[in-house]
């Protein structure tokens, strides 16, 4: 099986599109939300909206880990870099996010700060071990997809007795934010495309509350056939009123999830309050470090508190993240806020709704 090519098959895609047209009831408005940045991009990349009937509406929700990181958390990164002689290790997407003073990490790198892009948190630990004379700070952002790898890195660092390595504990988890979206009276979401890679770790169970509260929930991959077939499943659930969590990405996702990954996460992290851009503080939605790993907390090590910062004036990233508005309805979109000069993170991150909208629309 060719895991990319076969799932982009045009003939099968057309058949699914026809079924979606046939089975969607014209009087029903199927508003379907995705909560994963890669889904945001895939939907745009394949032009999926352009082949769906008008009453099937795809809404982008809070699925991009960079976008939901608060301005205060971003500013704390800059405070640590500017006030200490450290090497910052980060995922690529964060390089273009601006601090409150308008600078981003690419600017700081060009001013001589040691800022390096990595693909894996485990590489971060190896780097710190190779250069014991430098202090390394890793920006630990992500959801359940990334948290186990970050936890593994910390376990490895502890085992090796490394003291020149710490992380900014910015990981967040999905269940609380899904609950928040369901509680929001302004949103009338009939079904969710559930994030494929988060599900690899968590399995089906974190999405059960969606079905229990009368919404379709379909775990979905990232190719056109994955997305189109999931949309068909959601439409069928809405039509029948029979809601369940369906794993439509079974070639990758095990219903039970990855217990070992969850165990590793729970060894290092504990649920903590977290501030989500656009959504505010959600109890238990963040992953804080357990006491025995507090030496690896960059905020404690460098004595920095995450400030509470107001959004930039006019920026409606919060409303875009909640799915209240399409990106082009933000007053700054395409004018003061463009990919070259982004104001908010939805435009910065390659998987942000605004960046995707701008790039592909």
């Amino acid at each position: 099986m060719k895991l990319i090519t076969d799932f982009r098959n045009s003939e099968l895609s057309l058949r699914l599109i026809r079924k979606i047209e046939d089975e969607s009831v014209s009087e029903c408005n199927y508003s379907i939300m995705e909560v994963c940045g890669t889904h945001t991009v895939s939907i745009f990349k394949y032009g999926i909206r352009s082949v769906l009937p008008e009453n099937v509406e795809l809404i982008s929700g809070p699925g991009c880990p960079v976008c939901v990181t608060s301005q205060g958390e971003i500013d704390a990164i800059f405070r640590i870099v500017n006030n200490n002689d450290i090497s910052l290790l980060t995922f690529g997407d964060l390089m273009k996010v601006t601090g409150s003073n308008g600078e981003n990490l690419i600017d700081l790198r060009s001013e001589g700060k040691d800022i390096r892009v990595l693909l894996s948190p485990l590489d971060a630990v190896k780097t710190a071990a190779r250069e014991p004379d430098r202090q390394f700070v890793f920006v630990g952002i992500g959801f359940e997809t990334t948290a186990p790898a970050i936890a593994s890195a910390l376990l490895e660092a502890k085992k090796m007795g490394i003291s020149n390595f710490s992380i900014l504990p910015y990981c967040k988890t999905m269940p609380e934010v899904l609950g928040c979206l369901l509680d929001d009276p302004k949103l009338d979401i009939k079904g969710f495309l559930c994030p494929g890679h988060v599900s690899v770790v968590t399995g089906k169970k974190i999405f059960q509350p969606l079905a229990q509260r009368g919404r379709a929930a379909v775990i979905t991959g990232f190719e056109p056939l994955d997305i189109l077939s999931s949309l068909l499943h959601i439409i069928r659930q809405v039509n029948s009123g029979d809601y369940c969590v369906y794993n439509n990405y079974s070639r990758v996702v095990d219903n039970a999830g990855n217990e070992k990954a969850v165990q590793i996460m729970n060894t290092v992290f504990k649920p903590s309050p977290a501030f989500w851009r656009g959504l505010g503080e959600l109890d238990g939605s963040g992953l804080g470090l357990k006491e025995e790993f507090s030496a690896f907390n960059s905020l404690e090590k460098f004595n920095v508190k995450v400030p509470r910062i107001n959004e930039k004036k006019g920026c409606r990233c919060g409303d875009v993240l909640k799915g209240y508005i399409r990106p082009n309805l933000c007053p700054l979109y395409g004018k003061q806020c463009t990919p070259e000069n982004p104001v908010g993170p939805c435009m910065v991150s390659s998987e942000g709704a605004c960046a995707a909208y701008y790039k592909f629309n």
Binding site: K2, I4, T5, R8, N9, S10, S13, L14, I17, G37, T38, V41, F44, K45, Y46, G47, I48, R49, S50, V51, P65, V66, F91, G92, D93, M95, K96, I106, R116, V117, L118, L119, S120, D123, T127, I141, G142, F143, T145, T146, H197, P224, L228, P339, E340, S350, E351, Y358, K359, F360, N361
Partner: protein, 330 residues
């Protein structure tokens, strides 16, 4: 000799410099114009000339499929070729960090010399400078190139709605090769750069029916199409299913979250051709090695947008790539 290092003496114009020029530069670039070793070269050329310049800062300087030497020569020649000129003469200047391995410089010069021979051009002048340890880890190269114009292929007014687009090679190999070899990313891949001389495409087709050409270097195919759309009142409709793309390149792009259309190439050009002669030109292009994977990928349209038809029949925009390509998180 393997361990001999470049010192500042080499760039200071005295004996070291002379020895380097005689023993290394002339050995690998050797031609009677260069060997005169004057302050400038005399070139006897007839007809309208085309002139280009380029600088090369690629890191790492040695990569699968080539090195900075080969890249500099082909890159400069390609700028002339896609402008409709037959490349003839190049300049080649090196800026070398002090302490760099002598044997590596020789490899780079040898590679450049081999590329020049393959491309049928002469490197007739140049310069060598050494800079003291400044954070520069590998050499920089600057070139200039002169060619004789055969047909002007830079004229936007020659492009019309209905013209077809030929992409002369599979894409994204050079950019993904370089990214996979960058320090810190730890990616094992066998992708090699597509660095190659594009002139055979024009020799074989004799420029007939080709209205415009551009090579898809930094910013890839997406940048070229957007640049053209920007300068004209026209747009493009490209069929994604027709774009030649190797599986391993496709998978690495997917893994890192890169759009292959935005990734750099060093051996791929876009030819905008008369619709009537498109399939004939395609056949000719495919008959030479550098064009063996060529494909007809779309056409010029009157709506001022660069659009892509996706495998599922959807249509989406192809925007101008912005800034550095950064790998995604999850």
């Amino acid at each position: 000799m393997e361990d001999k290092k470049i010192t500042s003496a080499l760039g200071s114009g005295g004996k070291s410099t002379n020895d380097f020029v005689k023993d290394i530069i002339c050995k690998h670039f050797g031609n009677n114009i260069l060997e005169n070793l004057g302050d400038a070269a005399y070139l006897d050329m007839k007809g309208e000339l085309s002139f280009t310049t380029d600088s090369f800062v690629v890191e790492p300087e040695f990569f699968p499929g080539g090195d900075i030497g080969k890249l500099s020569v082909y890159g400069t020649c390609n700028d002339l070729s896609v402008s409709g000129a037959k490349p003839k003469f190049l300049s080649f200047s090196l800026i070398i960090p002090e302490g760099y391995k002598f044997s590596d410089i020789e490899k780079i010069v040898e590679s450049a010399g081999a590329a020049a021979k393959e491309a049928g051009v002469q490197i007739v002048c140049g310069d060598t400078k050494v800079i003291s340890a400044s954070g520069l880890k590998s050499p920089l190269v600057n070139t200039a190139g002169i060619g004789v114009v055969r047909k002007k292929l830079n004229d936007y007014s020659k492009i019309k709605a209905g013209d077809k687009i030929i992409l002369t090679s599979d894409i994204a190999r050079h950019g993904m090769c370089i990214i996979s070899k960058r320090e810190g990313l730890n990616i094992e891949s066998k992708i090699e750069s597509d660095c190659a001389d594009l002139n055979p495409l024009f020799e074989v087709s004799d420029y007939k029916g080709i209205n415009f050409a551009r090579d898809a270097t930094r910013g890839g195919v997406a940048a070229v199409l957007n640049e053209i759309s920007d300068k004209t009142d026209l747009g493009f409709l490209v069929d994604e299913a027709q774009i030649p793309l190797r599986d391993d390149v496709k998978y690495l792009c997917e893994f890192l979250g890169f759009d292959p259309l935005s990734v750099a190439n060093e051996g791929a050009a876009l030819l905008i051709v008369d619709s009537a002669s498109a399939s004939q030109i395609l056949d000719k292009v495919k008959s030479v090695k550098v064009g063996e994977n060529a494909a007809l990928i779309g056409e010029v349209c009157s709506e001022k947008k660069v659009m892509l038809k996706t495998p599922i029949g959807g249509i989406r925009n192809v925007e101008m790539p912005v800034g550095e390509l950064l790998p995604r998180i999850c």
